[in-house]
């Protein structure tokens, strides 16, 4: 089952969560790749022992370029689909299965998960997500929820159209950039609600990064 799918997990300092996540994934998926982004903890030692494809970036290149390395592997190995999942265990494997089934059944270009439990998030994160959604709708004329969702499945053949540039200080914007480029290219995209399990304190963006992301939404709209 899911032979055409590569499950890609960029990981950085996730020694607490990665093993449990992989063990859950192995039961359902055959091809899993974990890119350790030069973690300073035991993430790499843990993934080495698991029956998955794994490698390590010798320097921390950020989430965005780890995602690209996964995509390169998927392209070389001729996978039809690539599914991205966060390494902190916040995503449910059953949700990933739902996304994979959906993209295959409907022959879509991408399926993006959206958190349906936004009300459980802290005020700052909830407001930030809602503002981003509104700005996105205004700019791209499409109602997409949770544009930065880390759980998503993409068709590998879409790479040329969605080649993302975020890196360095903007490496966390890769998910949002992919969403923007998918919409700009009129891709066949659908969304499914997903659960998020808060395993540890929120590590996401601060207000400055949020403002910067809004600026980037404008620039992606204007550029290719």
């Amino acid at each position: 089952m899911f032979d055409n799918f590569l499950i890609a997990i960029p990981a950085f300092n996730e020694e607490k969560n990665i093993e449990k996540l992989i063990i859950n994934l192995i039961k359902k998926f055959k091809h899993i790749i974990v890119i350790d982004n030069c973690s300073s903890d035991k993430t790499y030692e843990i993934i080495k022992k698991l029956p998955i494809i794994f490698t390590k970036h010798e320097f921390n290149l950020g989430k965005s370029l780890s995602m690209k390395t996964c995509f390169d592997y998927a392209e070389i190995k001729n996978f039809k689909y690539i599914a991205y999942m966060d390494a902190d265990g916040q995503h449910n494997v059953n949700d990933l299965i739902k996304l994979c089934k959906k993209i295959e059944e409907k022959n879509l270009d991408a399926v993006v998960g959206y958190r349906n439990n936004l009300k459980e998030l802290n005020f700052k994160k909830r407001i930030g997500t809602l503002i981003l959604e509104k700005i996105f709708k205004l700019l791209y004329k499409k109602d997409i929820k949770d544009i930065q969702s880390g759980l998503r499945v993409l068709k590998v053949s879409m790479l040329e159209k969605i080649r993302w540039e975020s890196k360095g200080i903007t490496h966390y914007f890769a998910d949002a950039e992919i969403t923007c480029k998918l919409i700009k290219n009129n891709s066949k995209i659908e969304q499914l609600p997903i659960e998020t399990i808060a395993s540890e304190p929120y590590k996401g963006m601060n207000i400055i990064q949020g403002i910067f992301l809004m600026i980037k939404l404008f620039s992606w709209r204007l550029t290719r």
Partner: protein
Amino acid sequence: MIIKEIVTILIIFSTFLMLYLTFLNIKNKILNFYEGIIWLLIWLISLFISIRPKTIDNFIETKLGVSFFYISTILAIFSLIIIIFYFYNKINILEKKIDKIIRSESLKKIFDRIKD
């Protein structure tokens, strides 16, 4: 007058900071000895010109009706922007090359392991 004094203090403070950073770079072997000396001299000359800009006019007179310091300031600002642009691009190119090397090395490791 107060503004002039504040600017002077800022320049002196910045110069000493840059001298210290240059010294650290020499110590950590990022700059070699001669490069370090050249940078130290550049900071000291910049300090002197910034604190006593009119001294240059005593050495060089222009017949253009404007002071040499005015012309050199404009030229210096423009040169600095060109240099910043050059290094910005240079760093970007280097960064892309390093990213590519690290990513292809990490993929190579996977394929080497598959071969073994």
